[in-house]
Symmetry: C2
Subunit: 339 residues, 2 copies
Amino acid sequence: MKANDKILLAHGGGGQLSDSLIHNTILPRLSNETLNALGDSALLDIDGTKLCFTTDSYVVKPLFFNGGDIGKLAVCGTVNDLAVAGARPLVLSLALIIETGFPIADLERILDSIAKTAAEAGVKVVTGDTKTVETGAADKIFINTAGIGKKLDCANLDTSRVKEGDKILVSGTIGDHGMTLISKREGIEFQSTLKSDCAALNSLTVKLLENLKDEIKFLRDPTRGGIAVTLNDIARGSGQSVLIKQSDIPVSPNVQAAADMLGFDILNIANEGKFIAVVSSDAAEKAVAICRSHRLGKDATIIGEIQKCVDVPTVEILTVIGGKRIVQMPYGRELPRIC
Amino acid sequence: MKANDKILLAHGGGGQLSDSLIHNTILPRLSNETLNALGDSALLDIDGTKLCFTTDSYVVKPLFFNGGDIGKLAVCGTVNDLAVAGARPLVLSLALIIETGFPIADLERILDSIAKTAAEAGVKVVTGDTKTVETGAADKIFINTAGIGKKLDCANLDTSRVKEGDKILVSGTIGDHGMTLISKREGIEFQSTLKSDCAALNSLTVKLLENLKDEIKFLRDPTRGGIAVTLNDIARGSGQSVLIKQSDIPVSPNVQAAADMLGFDILNIANEGKFIAVVSSDAAEKAVAICRSHRLGKDATIIGEIQKCVDVPTVEILTVIGGKRIVQMPYGRELPRIC
């Protein structure tokens, strides 16, 4: 059996290998029109009611970190997948897989966090499941949440609508979640100054969509694989190229220092409380203003634009020293168990 | 820290300890009207469209067994939770947590099984997620499926409608799934003659409900904890008592032999392709006939009835030797990782 006959960590990393697993192993077997769209959420039409439906498992390590915990992440992650699909999140399911011996006090802390985050995001946990496995058969606790949202009538998100000249907006600083986790795992001293951005974005995305309607052409929360994956998805989905300007990308100095010290490219680092939007050129400044008036978007800014594709759709970055380089789809190895 | 400060295997067993975890730890934190109903599925009303929504994680060991595998189980289990809630299952989500080093050939086999079972059950997998964890951080593969179904207008399932004289129907032989798994794990020789009953029940439940409408008062698939849990739930939910007759309960001789040899009470053993129904006395024979005309209900039979509760609601069994004993809610320890 060759190495590539087995699952590698990178198969779950959100990069090239995840992509290959989805396209070569999963989709050929389960193919249907809804699944094949590979959106953050599936779009369903049940008797004329348009719903979004999504699922995510959370295997983050450590379970508790500055700015959040696995419970908060499990609510925010799924709420955000609905939010960036142009939906108003309504309900969540909650499924726990717990290792025998896990302290009930920790479970209570996680459940309290789930309850608080769900209340803040305006969603209800309506159904659940608990499984236990022997000590050693799982690492402490894994959580799955699936979510249902009501598709907003005003949302018309579709990468095929993305055109040359459209602007690329990021809702705030990038890399905070991933660098907080990896620094804590590596035991880096300055980790206490880092804080995950873990947050439910639906109040901001709904506001943006209700105000700017189809001027917003694409939304995505850049989690695993960071904004590098999201920007490559925009290029691939639209058939256009993407140019971003490094000096315009908001990054906290502590986060940048941690990334530099540990040798990570900040573009590949996971975020859990940010989104990337593609906005028509005319509405771009209005979009920035709407974001900045909301506590979750106060550092929002335009970081680049859509350019005509001359050969294959690519993502390029204009670096601070004036050069240009390609931003590749990351391989997926960088940060296992980040969410 | 005391023993009961930690999660035990029995907390996931579907019995008393699961019950206590749900009522003492989970519900007080996440309480809302829909969740508190603790149905097999949550009943949602979204703009007048009535939906059922459910989730289940699957941690079964071994992954492949006679009559099924973790993939088939992950489809059937969630489809059945929707079916017994009186819904027509429509779509599933599929979330995989995979240990590094897991053979891709095994993953393909599981995905093929998911595809086949979903097609047979008439449901589509519309959204998914894949996470990988380091070797040793999970036992091979865990699967979560959440599902959405359309509530049938004709279904009026509610234990408060259960009345004295109503009949208790089981759709076929009991204990097949659990005894197949435990025998395989224990390496018992006759295990090759046992076969899990794992099946999607929705074609039968929809037929039953469309024909008998509100004569069907309760449906449940007796999985973890077996029919003992389901019958106790009927007693508790209705405030009535339940009397079943041991000689009327269909059990395959091989399954009974395995249970006897290993010292299990067949009433506590999980099923994955059966349901218990409470049917009005007038419609009971018709319900049996409808079941028997379907391949999944050919051994359907009436096993008991609802009796007036004199003190506290209890479940009693009239044994083959003529005695009566209480059927208790099992503690939950019997069969870890059965689904």
